[in-house]
Amino acid sequence: MDQARYRQFEKIYDAYAKAIFRFVYFRVSERSLAEDISHDVFLQFWKSLSGGEEIKEPRALLYTIAHGLVVDHYRKKKYRIQVSLDAEKVDGEPALSTDVLENEAIAKEEFGNVLAKLKTIKQEYQDALLMYYVEGLDVSEMARILRKKENAVRVLIHRALKTLKNKL
C-alpha cells in the first residue's frame, strides 16, 4: 500500500467524513444506511486515489460519489422515504435521530419541520439546497458535481428554494 496516499486519504477522511455523513444522512434519513453509503463513498474515493488518479478537488469528488450513490439508492428502492421527527419513523429510526446527531433541542424544533418538508420535494432540489446552503459548496463546484452549467445550477437552487417555501 502506498503510504503517502494512505496518509493523504486519512487527512481527507478526517476533513470531510462528518460533512459527507451528514449530507447522506439528510438524504436517506436512516443511520445504518447512511453509514453504508458513506462507507462506499470513501471506499470509491480510495480506489480512485490508490489507482493513481490525480485528485485536484477531493471535496467535489466526494460529493459527486455521494450524490451518485444516493441517486442509485433511490433508483433501486423506487419510492421516496417520508420523514417525520417524532411519531413516524423511517426504517425504524427518526429522521433526525438524536442518537446520531448532536444538538437534541434543535432537532426537535423548527429545523425539523424544514427538513421534513425538504424530503417531500424533488431529489435534485434536495441535493441543490443541501449542497448550497448546508454543505457550503459553491455554484461552480455544484456544476461539476451535478454535471450542469453554472447558470442551470443557479436556476435549480432558485426553483428548489421556491418549491420548499411553498411547502412551508
Binding site: 462528518k18 453509514e35 471506499l43 480510495w46 480506489k47 446527531l101 432537532a107 446552503y133
Partner: protein, 216 residues
Amino acid sequence: MNDNRLIQLLEGLKKFEPKEKTISALRGKVFSSVEHVGSARMPAPRIGSTRSAVRFLSRPIFLYPAAALLLVGVITAQGSWPINKFQAAYLETRMALASNGYEKASLSLRLAELELGNAESAGNGSARQIAYLSNVTLETNRYMSDLHLVGEPGKYSSGQCLAAYKEYDGYLDELKAAISAGLTTAGDPSLRADLSALLDQANQYQSAANVKLKLY
C-alpha cells in the same frame, strides 16, 4: 415564511453534526475496507490458493471442463480424495456460482471454518496452513464487509446479515483461540511470526465486525 428566514433555517442545518461515536464507527469500517483493498492490490504470496481457480470457474463456458480437470488433477496428485477437500472444492464451486454477496459471504465463512477445522485436526500448523487460513479469512472478511446491515431487497434481510456477522465473530474467536494454542507450542521463530501476524489480522477483523454488531 420569507426567503431570508428559509435560507437562515437551511443554513442552520449546518449545526447538525454526526456524533463522534458514529464517525469513529464509520472510520473503523472504512479503514478496514481500505486496508483490504490495499491487500488485494499487493496480495501476500498464496500457497494453495484457489481464488484464481474460482474466478476461472465463474466463467460458465469453462465450468464443466474445469471442474473435470480439477477432479482429475487432484485425484492424480493425491491418489485419494479426502472428504474435506471434496467439501472445500464444493464450497468454492458454489461460491463461484453464487448470485449475491450474502451467499458468497456465507459460503466463504463455511470454507474458512472448514479450513480452520482442518488445520486444528492436523495438529501443529505449518506455514502453508497459516498462509491459506490467512487468505481464506481475508476473503471472508471482504465478503462480510460488502454486506449491507439493512439487507438488500430480494437477496437477504437485516436479520440474516446479523446472523452472518455473529457466526463470523464466533469463527474469529475460534481462530484466535487456535492461534493462541499454536503460539504456546510453536518453537520455530518464523512460524511464531506467521501466527502472530494471523492473530493481528483476526483481531483487526474482529474489531471491525464488532463495530458492525454494535450497530444492530
